[in-house]
């Protein structure tokens, strides 16, 4: 019998901002504990909130052993502790007041609402030689904004997240965004343009789903039967990655460690492997990548790990190659067809000059492509320099049809 005890603790303070006023403070001190028993054939789990009674958890986990099959060896004999340096960002309330005061003073035409959180988050997994822990002290700023004369509920979003709160840098980034937002510019002609994404979720969502080990192995992925084949641009390397500065632990819910350099899923355009947990890897004979996730009291199962595009060695300015670009700031509701066609409305976009600096706000538009084109011949690359330095967010460039 192997026993694993996992904990997640969260101690954070959040300042709430409504229409340019800091109007709330929320404190949370939450501890979640789960105990898993593996008997070689099945797994039993029990969990609790607050201070745990381990003997009670063990008793309850034993009671449910025997129903959920798990005839594989769980991780053991791994010891690693990691405390992300830095953090300890002080008191959230004065920082939120300072942000709001600066923005409302400089941009009286813009209303901001949202949250600023400073927190300390610890994850651990231990038992039978397994002893892993990860401690991150970090921050998250998430603001919606709108012009005072806008009849929309939200015009856009700005934010930052990471370890070391740097108010001056965050304000610098928001100022750059707000200046562009307040300066409408005429759109270029509809057609194929360099399109810049500062977050990769929208453009990569289909491919991330297709990299799921279960979907791959069962033939329901567009990448099924394409392992070791060159399917995308040589400029594209996709890594399963644990961004410690963002608070992602270096181990998954089963204790599989993600190496610091990441796990390649697509390398130089060649599909290497899908992401897997222990169950999927063993059931289908795939390499284990450490992509298990679990509720604190649940059996680990295949989740969605953090996946990032490996940055190129070229700056955004170099990637744009002397041409202006369209930076997608807000796009909600886009999707792919079953065969990979992509369409998305863009609610907020900026025109970037050839150096990658935002020069003004564009009218609403729509973007379209296919997964094979946007990550294939039309994929340009990810910048070596961050577009948002406070959170080290880089810019991904691909050519797409844009309709204004």
């Amino acid at each position: 019998m192997v026993e694993h005890v996992g904990t997640e603790s969260m101690d954070d303070s959040t300042a709430g901002i409504t229409a340019g006023r800091v109007d709330s403070v929320r404190n949370r001190n939450i501890l979640k504990t789960g105990l898993r028993l593996y008997d070689g054939e099945t797994v039993g789990v029990a969990g609790c909130l607050g201070e745990p009674d381990i003997s009670d958890l063990r008793k309850r986990a034993k009671e449910v052993l025997g129903s959920v099959p798990f005839p594989w060896a769980p991780n053991r004999d791994l010891v690693r502790h990691r405390e992300v340096p830095g953090g300890g960002n002080g008191s959230v309330l004065p920082e939120a007041e300072a942000i709001v005061s600066a923005l409302s003073g400089e941009f009286p035409d813009i209303l901001v609402s949202g949250k600023l959180t400073f927190g300390r988050y610890r994850h651990s997994l231990s038992g039978d030689g397994l002893d892993l822990s990860f401690l991150h002290r970090g921050y998250n700023l998430s603001l919606t904004f709108k012009r005072r004369d806008s009849s929309a509920i939200i015009d856009g979003f700005v934010g930052s997240g990471g370890t070391n709160w740097d108010r001056a840098q965050v304000l610098k980034e928001i100022r750059r965004e707000f200046r562009a937002f307040l300066h409408p510019v005429a759109p270029p002609a509809s057609g194929v343009h360099n399109v810049v994404f500062t977050e990769t979720g929208t453009a990569l969502s289909q491919t991330i789903g297709d990299l799921n080990g279960l979907r791959y192995a069962t033939g329901s992925s567009l990448l099924s039967d394409k392992r070791d084949q060159k399917v995308f641009s040589s400029a594209l390397t996709l890594l399963q990655y644990a961004d410690e500065m963002e608070g992602t632990p270096f181990f998954d819910a089963e204790g599989t460690i993600t190496p610091a350099e990441g796990v390649p899923l697509v390398r130089d355009g060649v599909f290497i492997q899908p992401f897997t947990d222990i169950r999927t890897a063993n059931t289908y004979g795939l390499p284990l990548t450490g992509a298990a996730s679990a509720q604190y009291d649940g059996v680990p199962s295949l989740g969605f790990p953090e996946i990032r595009v490996k940055p190129s060695d070229r700056t955004l300015s170099k990637l744009l190659d002397g041409k202006p670009a369209i930076c997608v700031s807000v796009t909600t509701g886009g999707d792919f067809t079953p065969t990979g066609g992509f369409g998305a409305p863009v609610q907020l976009a900026y025109l970037l000059d050839a150096s990658g600096n935002p020069v003004g706000r564009l009218p609403e538009c729509s973007i379209s492509s296919t997964v094979w084109k946007m990550l294939g011949d039309d994929f340009v690359g990810v910048s070596s320099d961050p577009y948002y330095p406070s959170s080290d967010q880089k810019a991904m460039v691909m050519r797409m049809a844009v309709e204004f």
């Binding site: 229409a19 403070v25 369409g343």
Partner: protein, 442 residues
């Protein structure tokens, strides 16, 4: 029960929840969980700022200690005469139905009773089955004298599947929500029909022609549209401190045709059932649009005070981790007076959206269809691949020109509504078949 601090408003929300989750992947049991949590959320308001704390230890002594801590952060003596006090609940009473009987074994058996249907479809490459239920019992006690206990229970079954044949792919879900576990039994015929439809889609779907089309939304798609396009715009926290929104969205303004009415109602049984909200305000029906005219907004006590309106029972928190904010409960478009057949009959060439993957809504709304079809000569014809339909909310409301008598109230299984950090909140939604003269299809 508690010594509420002097000079401030405070309330305590005690929650006890019991949830069951049973999940199979490709016929293998992967999750079998029954969870009980007892938690608390505390609020203190001093007239200027709110102070919140969430606790995983709801013992009276711990709650009292936190109440006192929060009160020490606040400034007493500034609350008197604050308009929010007139709008915060003073209700007392109990509305408890209890948690329906049912073992994990019996729930597992209900889910497994559907699996046989999958065998007739070799095109199914992968599938996952889920059955779950959630019971929550809450008590809200405040310094104004409110003391309310209420509960709610929902259950649902969902089977998601992906079919593949050659290069073609199609994914769909069969979902059924219920008020008692027995509601989830015996729906195999509906499941089989959904499988057959998806198989037909897999083999026959062609790319839709992008552009403007006349579109008919199913009750599911219409419900998502109402939720995304208009429901969120009606949540009053988006309007507080925003003179433009209040000016542009005055109650009494015309926003759609006479046939269009949209309401939100926390008393409708189902996934959005909210007999009292998380401030203790009773739920009820709020018309957002009545006969095409803007008629109401969704409020917490806080937003109602800010806008000098009345609370509507829509202050909801997704869990003990969060403060209540204005959210939808069950949001529906009211049915019309023509038959579904007649609604389609007027369309020579259009698109019918039967099921959806997701939707979103700002000033522009989007709906990502799953199963969609061409309408030819008033009849549903070949299946279409559509990535997204989209439009300006206000312009699209004005383009609605037909509502069927047939209508449904629905709920998602295992998911819900997301708003900023709070996701997923169980909500209900629905409506009739809705005909929109022009919508952008991509």
């Amino acid at each position: 029960m508690y010594r509420f601090p002097e000079g401030v408003f405070s309330d305590v929300r005690l929650e006890e929840s019991v949830t069951t989750v049973i999940a199979f992947v490709m016929g293998r049991l992967e999750q079998r969980r029954e969870r009980t949590e007892r938690t608390a959320f505390i609020r203190v308001f001093d007239g200027i700022r709110w102070y919140f704390s969430s606790l995983t230890d709801p013992r009276q002594s711990t709650v009292q200690e936190k109440l006192d801590d929060l009160a020490a952060m606040a400034s007493a003596g500034r609350i008197e005469g604050h308009p929010v006090l007139d709008r915060l609940s003073r209700h007392r009473g109990e509305r408890i139905s209890g948690r329906p009987e049912g073992t994990v074994e019996s729930k597992t058996a209900v889910l497994e009773s559907y699996f046989g249907e999958l065998k007739a479809f070799p095109q199914i490459a992968s599938w996952q089955g889920f059955i779950g239920d959630g019971y929550s019992r809450k008590r809200i006690i405040s310094s104004l004298g409110a003391d309310i206990s209420f509960d709610r229970f929902n259950c649902g079954i969902g089977i998601g599947f992906s079919m593949a044949e050659g290069e073609s792919r199609a994914s769909e879900q069969f979902m059924k929500t219920g008020l008692v576990p027995g509601d989830l039994e015996g729906r195999q015929e509906d499941f089989r029909a959904r499988l057959q439809k998806t198989l037909h889609y897999l083999g026959n779907a062609v790319d839709a022609v992008a552009g403007e089309h006349t579109v008919v939304l199913s009750p599911l798609a219409a419900g998502v549209f109402a939720h995304e396009s208009f429901g969120h715009k009606s949540e009053a926290d988006f309007m507080t401190g925003d003179e433009t929104m209040l000016r542009e969205w005055p109650l009494g303004a015309r926003v759609g045709p006479d046939i269009l009415s949209i309401w939100d109602d926390g008393t409708v049984p189902g996934t959005g059932y909210t007999p009292f909200d998380d401030e203790g305000t009773p739920g009820g029906r709020t018309f957002l649009v009545k006969n095409g005219v803007l008629s109401g907004r969704l409020h917490s006590a806080i937003t109602a005070a800010e806008l000098r309106e009345e609370p509507t029972g829509n202050a909801r928190a997704v869990s003990f981790n969060f403060e209540p904010i204005p959210r939808m409960t069950t949001t529906c478009i009211e049915p019309g007076d023509i038959s579904k057949k007649d609604l389609f009959a007027g369309i020579e060439d259009g698109i019918f959206v039967e099921t959806v993957k997701h939707g979103s809504g700002m000033s522009t709304f989007t709906i990502a269809p799953n199963l969609a079809y061409r309408i030819r000569g008033g009849e549903i014809s070949e299946p279409l691949k559509v990535s997204v339909i989209t439009g300006n909310v206000m312009e699209t409301l004005g383009e609605i020109d037909g509502l069927s008598r047939e209508w449904e109230v629905l709920g998602f299984v295992g998911g819900g509504c997301g708003k900023m950090e709070q996701y997923p909140l169980p909500v209900g939604f629905g409506g009739p078949f809705v005909r929109v003269r022009r919508m952008q299809v991509n």
